[in-house]
Amino acid sequence: MSLMIVDFVPDLILAFLVICMAWGAMHARSRHDAMAMFVAFGLVVALIWARLGAPDLALAEAAIGAGLTGVLLLQAARQIPAEPRTMKKTTVQFILPLVFIVLAIALFASQLFSDDALNISEQARIRPDVGLSAPSMSDRVHLAMPDSGVGHPVTAVLLNFRAWDTLLELLVLLLALSGLRQLYPSSQSAQKKSDGPLVRGPEPWPLLLAWSRFLAPLLIVMGGYLLWRGADAPGGAFQAGALLAAAAVVLRLAGLLPALRWSSLTVRLAINVGALLFMTVAALTLYFGAGWLHYPAAQAGILILGIEVFATLSIAITLTLLVIGEYEDLHT
């Protein structure tokens, strides 16, 4: 029994940390404090995913939540003016919603514990034998795994069982980038120097250059490893894409990578190729095969790998541009 309690302590500390950081990320004195808190929040959330046994998510969160979001916030922090004296909400306006939160949590907790509609009272039950009752979605996934063409269930869900979601999600990335392009209207190209603050600051120090040269290949190797391994173990296109994007960001910041100009066909191709290939596969399966996104069983593995490789490329370039893209990248 005492052992149980000891096992529970890390969870409690993580919960405490995460609550403090959530609060600080919104209500810290200065914007910069809030942003730093938010990056710390992402880091601790990655640890929580680890505690909850979700390696794919821990990898994604470590790369995206703690890494790229951090760069993104820093990028914003250098551009925005100091926070004006905001109208402080009165205490009542501040406290009333808080009271509401406490009540809502209490209600939710009482429901959670009384009739346990969500079945979470015992930890990690071994799933019941399939076939006794109607199989749940995760049972179906495990049963269908042999036909999926990959060995890792999460990858199978992402790129086979629910491939349509993933395809649409690649479009979400593209759209965010298209939206970003609107922020530097081309009609104002004359004022671009003063309008679009540049990413690159002063000449980087030699130490930073050397360190970037060392770091970027490591990131790329790790990204490639996660991609290659994603078929059979935690990892996959998104984690790999995020790591590659981090590599590109580092190189770009150090001035070692030229601008990813929108006018270059290669860049646009790299951005589009993931979604385009995915759509093409879908259309081909519709025309020649058994139906929309119905991979032939024999080629499923190869198709998924191909889609993953190109999706990784697209994700990497798109994320890079989303994080540090600027006038020079997006409109020249």
Binding site: R29, W205, L208
Partner: protein
């Protein structure tokens, strides 16, 4: 695993933990950024090294030990570089700080 190795591993890990605690204390208690840099980048890196060494012994596998070593080296290098970069950054953004010791940042804290 022999008892000797196991206790050695635990000893290393406990030492590592002690270094972590020291680093945390230093981060809180030290008066200015330059001394805090020591606390975090040196002490914690050492703590992580000891911990990783202990874990490597416990894992009883060469590949795991190598991976742990690699992670530690990475953190070591990253710590050293970021210490340098941050110190320079602080110096550059703080033209008044020609000498380090007289500087008391706590005074400008009340905003």
């Amino acid at each position: 695993m022999s008892l000797l190795l196991d206790s050695l591993a635990w000893l290393l890990m406990i030492f590592g933990l002690l270094f972590f605690i020291t680093g945390a204390l230093g981060l809180i208690r030290f008066p200015d950024i330059y001394s805090r840099l020591h606390a975090v980048t040196k002490t914690d890196t050492l703590g992580l090294g000891l911990l990783a060494a202990g874990l490597a012994i416990k894992s009883e596998s060469v590949s795991t030990a190598l991976l742990l070593l690699f992670i530690w080296l990475l953190v070591l290098a990253s710590g050293a570089v970021s210490c340098q970069l941050l110190a320079r950054y602080s110096l550059e953004s703080d033209p008044a700080a020609t000498g380090i010791s007289e500087h008391i940042p706590g005074e400008s804290d009340d905003r």
